[in-house]
Every structure is written in structure tokens, then in C-alpha cells.
Amino acid sequence: MTKIGLEIHSQLTKLESKLFCSCKANYREFEPNTNICPICIGLPGSLPRLNQKAVEKATMIAMELNCSTPEKIAFFRKNYFYPDLPKNFQITQLNIYGDTSVGGKGIIMVGEKKIHITRIQLEEDPGRLLYEGSSEKNQITLVDYNRAGTPLVEIVTEPDFENPKEVREFLNILSNLLENLGVSDPSLEGAMRADANVSIEGGNKVEIKNIGSFHDLEKAVHFEITRQQSLHSRDIPIIQETRHWDDKRKITISSRSKEEDLDYRYFLEGDIPWVRIGNEVKEKLKAEMPESISSKKQRYVSKYNIPVQVADVLSADKFYSNLFEEAHTKENAKEVANIITTDLMGLVDTREKRESSKLTSSHLKDIVDSIQSGKIARNSAKNALYEIVKTGKKLSDIISELDLGNVSDESELSKIIESVISEEPQAVEQAKSNPQTINYLVGKVMQKTKGKADPKLTLDLLKNKIS
């Protein structure tokens, strides 16, 4: 059996400042080493100043993942030497001496499967190393500390996954959940990173480090399973080791360094007093938390009678559910949900498309209103949406510009109906004896009007003329 466990590192990108100083948590737009201060570059005499907001956000994540949350949390030092680490230790959390991390054991459902969360810890991100130079021999390592001290939440799972597909589903759920909480933007470069451990057939565990995105995480796990299976089938032993993900070649490579042998000499960070997170704090945080994805889904189904599958898709994605929340009324909810999930999703399926989209919730509301009042046909809605996403123009302008409006002029429609009656004598006779078959004639009218005939008016006129 294949066993996969994950360590997900998610930056709290929505925070204003770093974990221990007031430099910006969003370091991405700075020139190298300009988003720094005595604290985050560990100058002698500087002390960490804990960002309480980060503790709150991390606690929210723990509660959202159904993790236990202790009364008091503590920070520890993880001691190791690395050039991207300004103090040569990282301030992080640990559960070795009692449950003192922001989150303890928890569960997240992936379909019918329970994935167990081992713990959630809050820690500081190191700086970044950039390599320059053509060959390994004349390579230069550059250090940029802009990222050093960015708040990072590490989510550790039990080895509950059995295949890359489960990993992918979990990652989707997790990134939707973090986005819905408003703590992180998973699509930002470097915001989500991961380590994975993989073993097959009860064999040795292999750690894969340094996976830079969720997309690559699934690939890395897939690669590693295949690699191990191939060794296994040839009776070559799988050694317990740490491997690195090479994101250019998309393979895992054995690490030369003896990282697994590192002794981190963990001990309590005396510069940060224990933080009490009592029930009153937790209650306050719960009240501040946005509605969870699962409760949103439930509400969509029970209150608006939206089909489960549609509610599922709609609630999981903050972009779509926000649109829905703003555009819907009790009467049009189902149709709004429908338009979003069947027509809009295909039009804005990437981050870039979403960001450049000019569509607002009032556009959406107009479209649904127009369909319901018969101003435009359901078929035309998709064309209108396409134009709105592109241009942001008002629906009424688009209807007239593209001639999307329904043919609801009686005399115009009568002419078309008469020509259909003369062209389809057999069907007319049939409709006289069996009123059910009149829909065939309605369809013919729709064909002639390219779907723009007002369906109700068409039916009325047809019935009149036949009888």
C-alpha cells in the first residue's frame, strides 16, 4: 500500500506585517534587501515582537481544520546553520513538550475519506537564496532577506493519502479553505510550498523537500511513487532518505547533505512569552471567521434548493460564491447559481482571466432578471456574459449592439409562425390531434429566430393559429 504524508507551508499573505517586526508581509514587490529591519535580519540586540494578528489567523486555520487548540501556545528555536536564516535559528512551534502549537490533531474530509491533521504550527519564513552563474563551479549565491520573517503556517498531515489524486483533492480543498478564510492567496508565487513523505508496500519512507507549488506537489508525489515502484519491481531496496524536487526537470533527486541527521537542538524561545488563547478569544475569533465552505454549501441547498453538485462547486470558490452572494435574491438564486456554474466558469477559468474580468454582480443580476422577464433567451445569456467579461458594458447596451434581444413583436413573430405552418403541414396536423407535439413547431420557430423568439409568446400564437 502507498502511504503519503504532507507538510504544507502556507504563507499568511493577507497579513499586513511580518511575524516579528513591522516590515511588509508582502515582500514580492521590493528590491532585494529593502524590506528588512534590525529584527528580521537578526541584528545583535534586536528582539522578536510577536504579531498577534498572525496568531489569530493561524488559530482560525486550526479551528477551520477541526484541530484542537490549546489554552496557551509557545514558540521554540530550531537551530541550524543556513545562509538564508538571519539568526541561524528559526522561530517555530513544537509539540514535543506538550501541545503548544496553534493547532493539534484535526480532521479534514476529502470526499468520504478522513485525512488526519497531525498539527499546525506558526513559524517564520527564511530569506531567499538566488543562484547566479552558468556552472556549479562559478556559481554565486545571493541572499535576499525581504522574505525573512514572513508568517508561515505549517500544516502537517498523517500519511493518510494513498495516491496522487487524493493529494490533489486535498490540496484543492485546503487552498479553497485558506482563501475562503481570507488568510492566504494560494495563487501567489511561493505562497504555498510543501514537503511530502512517500512509502510503498510498507517500505522505507522517502522525504521530498522543496516543492514550490501545489501543482508540483502532485507531480512530485506521482514521480516518487513511480520511482519507488520501479525499484521495487526490480528488487532494488528503497533507502530511507531525503530527496529534493527539481522543478526544472520535474524529478526528485537524492540530497547530498545529511539533512535527516541534523540535530535542531530545539528549546523554548525565551524572548516570546507564552500566549494565552482562552475560550473568550476563540469565541471572538469564531465570530470574526467568514462562513465556512461546508456551511455555505448547506445553506445553498436548503435555502435555495440549489442542486448539491452545483452548491458544491459554488461554495468552494470564494470568487464565485462572492458573486453569488451579491447577485442573488430568494427568487433568482437558482438561476444565478446556474449561470455561474454552467456559463461563467468556462469564461474565467484562470487567475489572469478572473483578474481582467469586468463582470460585476450587478451584471449577473441583470442577466438573470432579463432571462426571467423574457427579455433575452437563456441561450443568449452566454454570449452576453462573454461580452461583459471582456468589456464591462451594460447588459442593455450589449443586447442592442449584438441584437440579442428576444423577438417579441407580435406581427413579426406571426409572419415567422405562418411560414413555419406552411412549411410543416404534417406536423401541424399532428399537433391538432396531439397538443404535446406542438413543441416541435416551437423549436422550428426558434431555429428561424436563432433562439431569440419569446418562448411564451410563440406558444400562445401557435396555439391560436392552429386551433
Binding site: 545583535p44 540586540g45 515582537r49 510577536l50 539568526k87 537542538r265 528549546f267 525565551g270
Partner: protein, 481 residues
Amino acid sequence: MNLKISALQFTRDVKSGNISAEDFVAKTMERIQNVDDKLHAFLSLNDKAVDQAREIDKKIKSGEKIGQCFGMPISIKDNICIKDTRTTCASKMLENFIAPYDATVITKLKQQDAIFVGKVNLDEFAMGLSTEFSAYGPSKNPWNTDYVPGGSSGGSAVSVSAFECVASLGSDTGGSVRNPASFCSTVGYKPTYGLISRYGLISYANSIEQIGPLTRTVEDAAFMLNLIAGLDSNDDTTVNNNSEDYLKDINSGIEGKKIGIIKEMIGEGIDPAVLYATKDAISKLEGLGAICEEISLDMIKYSVAAYYIITATEAGSNLARYDNLRYGYDFSVEGYEFNSYIEKARKKFGPEVTRRMILGGFVPSAGHAGKYFLKALKVKSKLIRQINDAFKKFDLLIAPTVPILPFKIGEKINDPVSLFLIDINTVTANLTGKPAISIPYAISNGLPIGIQLIANSMDDKLLLQAAYALEKTVKLPEVPI
């Protein structure tokens, strides 16, 4: 010009126009020029000190609002950051480190118009108790320059004792303020952990160390505390003292107060002269109406071992940043390899720092933490329990600050373990976070003896009141230098 006046006397004299800040500071700088060749208290001097004093005189003359220090010349231990000033920790590693910011205590003292005459010597990174481990050479005891001044804040104690400044700030990790205060016959005070911000104090063992004043009188220590204590948003470990005025009611006396005599601190190895002075102090306190009684805190037996394990562990981590990448020495890019550079950089640490870094790598390591580091933490928490129990019965505890008299320079430098044991009477206050003060009490064969009082957490005011009462019973000869 009398440079021997107390800090409070200085502020009164300048305020009343008896003396000018400029004259006093100029004479102080002169005094440093004259005596520091022999004493080596200072590592660097502020060449703008006299100009700054002149500005303060101008402010006073023009009736501008003036801070409570009135241009008082203060020396600062060279492990506390003053903006744009070299802060070396008496180490070759930080030979060229110019602090880009002020420590919180410095900011506060600047606001009160203090003048920093210079940075003073210490054992490298505050590790030691004789100031012999300074990379820039030892300081000497003004009472007899063949002897050590104590440490690690040796430069602070020497500069106050030899009238090279009116007061000084040191840091106390295991006695580093009180020990040199005792050896040089000044007041040395380590407040409750968290009472003074550590922001800008270069960490050695951050979970137990505090900045503390070295002064001529107990009142001066209370005055300094008034200026620098309290919550600081830059140090999460600071505690709120509700802007307590430590000078107010300092003469309340100690009538009816219960004082415990710590048995383990007057036992084996104590110098007879020190024991005699301690007993004398106890009878004086009884004469003032205190009730003194012996108490045993048996965890003290293990306190020095626990202290060295905990401090070495924290030091190993706190000093890890000196890896030659950002501090230390220029290096050529060619052949750069991170680990080899760390190794090179580490060679620049002196013998005592090296010893503790090696120890700090070992005692908390995976195979040995259970035997050493975790055990040391256990001793610490048991010691806290014992001392808290003691404070249920007693208001204060008393012991000699150091069990022995100052020793000769070089006498013990090759015997680190016997040096370690001298800390037995001071480390308890650090491990438990309690406030403690050393008061000059006696001179034996020309060498000073200090008496130590310890109070419960946040009982700093009571501690200063008791120290003030004891101080009033003492009349000591003048320092011979």
C-alpha cells in the same frame, strides 16, 4: 570640582546652578584620560560628550524643559547598542559593528538628557566574572590594580568606583552586575526579570538576563530604575510596573520585615572575612528591627550546574548568527563555502566564548538533552518553587554577593571550573527571575566585600528600601585611586 558626588546630588547641583554640566563632564573626561590607562574601564569614548553637556547648559539657561539627568555622565556596557556607535561586546567578532539603532534604555536616558561618556569593558559577550576574557584586555580593580574588578560588567563597576562617570548600565546574566559591584564597592542592582527592556542588549542568555544600574548609592539605583523601567513594545517580555516611583518612601526602613539567611550561600568555601561581614550585616539589620532567620534552599547545590547548562544552550543559539556572512571578517568570494566560513569565523571567538559554544552545542543535543539540558530546566523550576515558598515566609533573603574576595588577575584564568563556582550566590536570582542588589559593605585587606539582598518578583521597591536601610549603617574608606 568634586567628581565623587552621587547621581542625585549631581542633578541637584546642576539644577541649582552650583555646577555646570559642561564643567562636570569635561572634568570627568579629564579624569578618564588620567586614570583609565591604569584601569582600562573604557573601550571607546564619546568625543562629543562635552559639546552635548554644553547644549544642556544652554537649555537650562534658556529655561527650556530639561530631562531628569541634567547632563549626567553615564558609562554603558559595550553590549548595549547606542545608535551610530561601535558596540563590540568586547569581542573581535563585533570589532566593526556600528549599531544602527538605540537600545530602549538608551532612548529613555537620551530623553532624560543623560550623556554617555563611553562604552565600557566586559568579558567577551558577557561570559565571565573577572573581565579578563575581554578581547581588548582586562580591566583592573581600582582598589588594587593587581586584582580583577569582577565581571562581566567589570568596566561599569570600575568606571563608577573610580569616578570616571556618575553611574553605569551593565547587564546581569548570572551576577554580572552584582559581582563587579561587590568587587569594586559600588551598588549593583539586577531588577525583576522583565522590569527593564532588553531591546538593544546583545543577548547572551536571554531568558534570564537583565540590564541593571551600577551606582554609588542605593538611591541612585532607584533613580536610574525610575528612568528606564517599564513596558516596552519592543520587548515582549517586559512587565508593567504602573510607573512606580522607586525613590518615593525609600527611607521607609525595615522594621518588622522578615529576612531569610540563605544557608547554602554561607557554607563551604566562604572566605572568613566575607562570612564575618555577612554576620555583621545581619546583626545591623536586626538592630533596625528586622527579624532574621536561616533558611535552606537545597536546590542551590545544583544551581551553578543548571545555570551553565542553560546559559551555554542559549548562548550557542544567540551567538550562532556570527557566522562570517554578516559579521566578522572580509572574505574573498572565491572558494566560498558556508560551513567552512562559519568555522573560520568561530576561530575569532575567545577561549571562554568558545568553551561555552562547545558546551552549548552538546548539552541540548538529541542524545544528551535528557541528561543535561532538560535536567537543568528541572532544577530551575524546582528552585523557583523553593524560593517562592521561602517568600511566603520571608520578605527578603540575604547572602554575601560573592563568597570570596577579589582575586589576582591571572590567578584563576586557567581554572574555569573554580571560576564557575564563584557564581553560586548570584545565579539563583537570575534562574528565578527575582530582583537582587549588592551593597558595598566592608573592606578587608584593602579589598571590597558586598552584601546581597534578594526580594520576590516585583518587590523591587521593598528591596531598594531594605538596601537603603542597610547602606545607611555603612561607612567605608575612599577608593585609593
